[in-house]
């Protein structure tokens, strides 16, 4: 029978098919761990006297709590420090490899997995973090789990799961390219605005079409990363030559004869021509322009050229109330041009846009320009490797010459768990993934943007795209 990519990967990991109402039992190839969602899971193992079944399929890194300044000093916040130290103790006790702060391989868990070559086509990848969907860019089935499930995977290397539905997101344009200044971040923000924050619930999304095929691996990761913001369990892209070229030679990628064997298996990981998705959505790539959010959920976004919407014009009552609440929280007026919105802070980084290509794009816009007076800009690499690579290319110099701050690797200002936060009422243009109330710090106001829009906004001080900089 014809199957979709997601169904093929599912079937390959079936330890046991559920009977009746029982879920299937799926094998997990790679379990990524960080300090926030794991302590109670390790504690559960300890209480039950259970070992970690497969430490060799488990990898931990420190990311959410880590400061990005003064990284050689102990973490100042005692509670953050305890959480990081707890991870270190747990990894030592249970034999899990850990990349701690200041290790050359440390970084955001979703940047580390792919750059090490651990994230491979056709694998199942889980992590106690909803942005695990990032790894789907390789044709992996990757999804976020809660702490009880973290414990379950540590103990059994499996998860009981009910089959997900499948949704195709077809992104096409005449020549397969996006317009200048339009990035994969704009694509995914537009998709979420189109299908809504609940549109993907219960589904694995498969991004397809000539626009997707022409994207780099890093751009694909940005799209899959935000699948969860549409409510989806996972996002996937079929592996192709771009995927294989990215993986070849990476530390944990197969070598020699195993490489050839792997590539042969990976080539089978495509949705069959006759396969039927449970739902399909078409996105016109030619119509896409730089996209920004105006509200407090990632579905509340519009093209940068538009105005802040008027809640009165929204028919659905829940949506209208949500829009009213959002405008009040964000301090915006209905009808105000988005380009007129002034920001205090610009953040480039996170598991969504903290990779080397994102930093190159940011540097290209900033090169020879200055960050506007009164605006602070943080550029935070997603991993130590990204940091070293950027420094080798001299990007750090471009950032600091422009007046931006160049930091060390971590989740940083994506979420309010470390010292990088917005003050109450402060407004940011951020390349991260969530504009929820208080996400970047209590009372902080977030506009989600691409790295290109972030850089242009930093220069002008108001939401802008590079074409505004002439």
């Amino acid at each position: 029978m014809a199957r979709t990519l997601a169904e093929k990967v599912w079937d390959q990991h079936l330890v046991r098919k559920g009977e009746g109402q029982e879920p299937d039992l799926l094998y997990i190839d790679l379990h990524l761990v960080h300090e926030v969602t794991s302590p109670q899971a390790f504690d559960g193992l300890r209480l039950a006297g259970r070992p970690v079944r497969r430490p060799d399929l488990t990898l931990a890194t420190e990311d959410h709590n880590v400061p990005t300044l003064d990284v050689l000093a102990p973490i100042a916040d005692p509670v953050s420090r305890t959480q990081v130290e707890t991870l270190r103790k747990n990894c030592a006790e249970f034999g899990v490899r850990l990349y701690p702060m200041n290790h050359a391989e440390q970084g955001i868990v979703h940047v580390v997995g792919p750059q090490l070559g651990l994230t491979q086509p056709g694998t199942t990848v889980v992590c106690g973090d909803s942005h695990t969907s990032t790894h789907g860019a390789f044709g992996a089935m990757a999804f976020g789990i809660g702490t009880s499930e973290v414990e379950h995977v540590l103990a059994t290397q499996t998860l009981p799961l009910k089959r997900f539905k499948t949704m195709a997101i077809n992104v096409t344009s005449k020549d397969g390219r996006l317009r200048p200044g339009v990035t994969s971040k704009d694509v995914v923000l537009a998709i979420i605005a189109q299908i809504g924050t609940g549109g993907g619930q219960g589904y694995v999304l498969e991004y397809r079409g000539n626009v997707i095929e022409n994207l780099s691996m890093e751009a694909r990761m940005t799209i899959c990363n935000m699948s969860i913001e549409a409510g989806a369990r996972a996002g996937m892209i079929a592996p192709d030559e771009t995927t294989f070229a990215y993986l070849k030679g990476r530390d944990h990628a197969p070598q020699g004869a195993q490489w050839d064997e792997a590539v042969e298996a990976w080539r089978e990981l495509r949705t069959d021509d006759e396969a039927v998705f449970d739902a399909e959505v078409d996105v016109d790539g030619d119509a896409l322009t730089p996209f920004v959010t105006w509200g407090t959920n990632p579905g509340q976004g519009l093209p940068l050229g538009e105005n802040v919407p008027d809640p009165e014009a929204i028919v659905d009552e829940n949506e209208r109330v949500a829009a009213e609440n959002a405008l009040a929280y964000m301090g915006l007026e209905a009808g105000q041009p988005l380009r007129s919105v002034k920001v205090d802070t610009v953040f480039v980084g996170s598991c969504t846009n903290g990779r080397i290509e994102d930093l190159r794009a940011t540097a290209e816009v900033l090169n020879g320009r200055k960050v506007a007076d009164g605006v602070r800009m943080l550029v935070v690499p997603g991993s130590m490797r990204v940091r070293f690579q950027a420094e080798e290319e001299g990007l750090d110099k471009v950032f600091t010459d422009a007046g931006a701050e160049w930091r060390s690797a971590g989740c940083s200002m994506c979420l309010g768990m470390n010292p990088d936060q917005l003050a109450p009422g402060e407004r940011s243009a951020s390349t991260s993934n969530r504009n929820f109330e208080g996400r970047q710090g209590k009372g902080g106001r977030t506009h989600l943007v691409s790295p290109l829009v972030a850089a242009a906004t930093a220069v002008r001080g108001t939401l802008s795209s590079p074409e505004d900089l002439v």
Partner: protein, 195 residues
């Protein structure tokens, strides 16, 4: 996990859609390494507003939260479920739950009862007009009842069975350990290892 068959308690109407897990418990409260004590973080930003529902009697004693659609979106933090339970909630009613939140609820023993939005509206009106109204959530019958309103709810059959029996997932899975070992012996050699 404790068995759950039915629960009766004060219903709390929360007229908001897209209640994301950052609202349920902000990240700053996630630094604890224990399993308990998360009640202080529950809706902590909203609770600073004196008009917020959980700052009003008798809702401070509520145990059945009736919320708008798309409850529990965003971050995978199970702490959101723990915060609700530590505060005293045993049930959340909504027309639509985010997948990860629904899964986490099932593991921790919080009932995520999916009720059609028109029925949620009925419950909201009742709970707002008569604060303190008790709501009974019957997991065997899959009904939510308050005064003369009785509405059905949906929940995954397997999750329902586990909640009714109070069964631990890991124990259930380990009954199939032979199948796991057999699967492992046939995994392709090119699959990655972290060591």
């Amino acid at each position: 996990m404790e068995k759950f068959s039915s629960h009766t308690g004060i219903g709390v109407p929360l007229r908001r859609s897209n209640v994301d897990t950052d609202q349920i418990i902000p990240a700053v409260f996630l630094k604890r390494v224990t399993r308990t004590g998360f009640e202080d973080g529950l809706f902590s930003a909203w609770r600073q507003d004196s008009s917020f529902i959980l700052n009003q009697e008798p809702f401070t004693r509520g145990s059945v939260l009736v919320a708008g659609p798309d409850f529990g979106t965003g971050s995978s933090r199970e702490h959101a479920v723990w915060a609700l339970m530590d505060y005293g909630f045993r049930v959340v009613v909504s027309a639509r739950f985010a997948d990860i939140f629904r899964g986490n609820s099932a593991k921790a023993g919080l009932v995520a009862a999916q009720v059609a939005q028109p029925d949620v509206e009925l419950l909201w009106k009742l709970l707002e007009n008569e604060p303190g109204t008790e709501v009974t959530v019957d997991l065997r019958e899959k009904t939510v009842q308050a005064k003369d309103i009785t509405v059905p709810f949906e929940i995954d059959d397997y999750i329902r069975w586990r909640l009714l029996e109070g069964l631990d997932d890991i124990g259930l899975t380990l009954r199939h350990e032979e199948a796991i070992t057999a699967f492992e012996s046939q995994r392709p050699a090119h699959k990655p290892v972290t060591v």
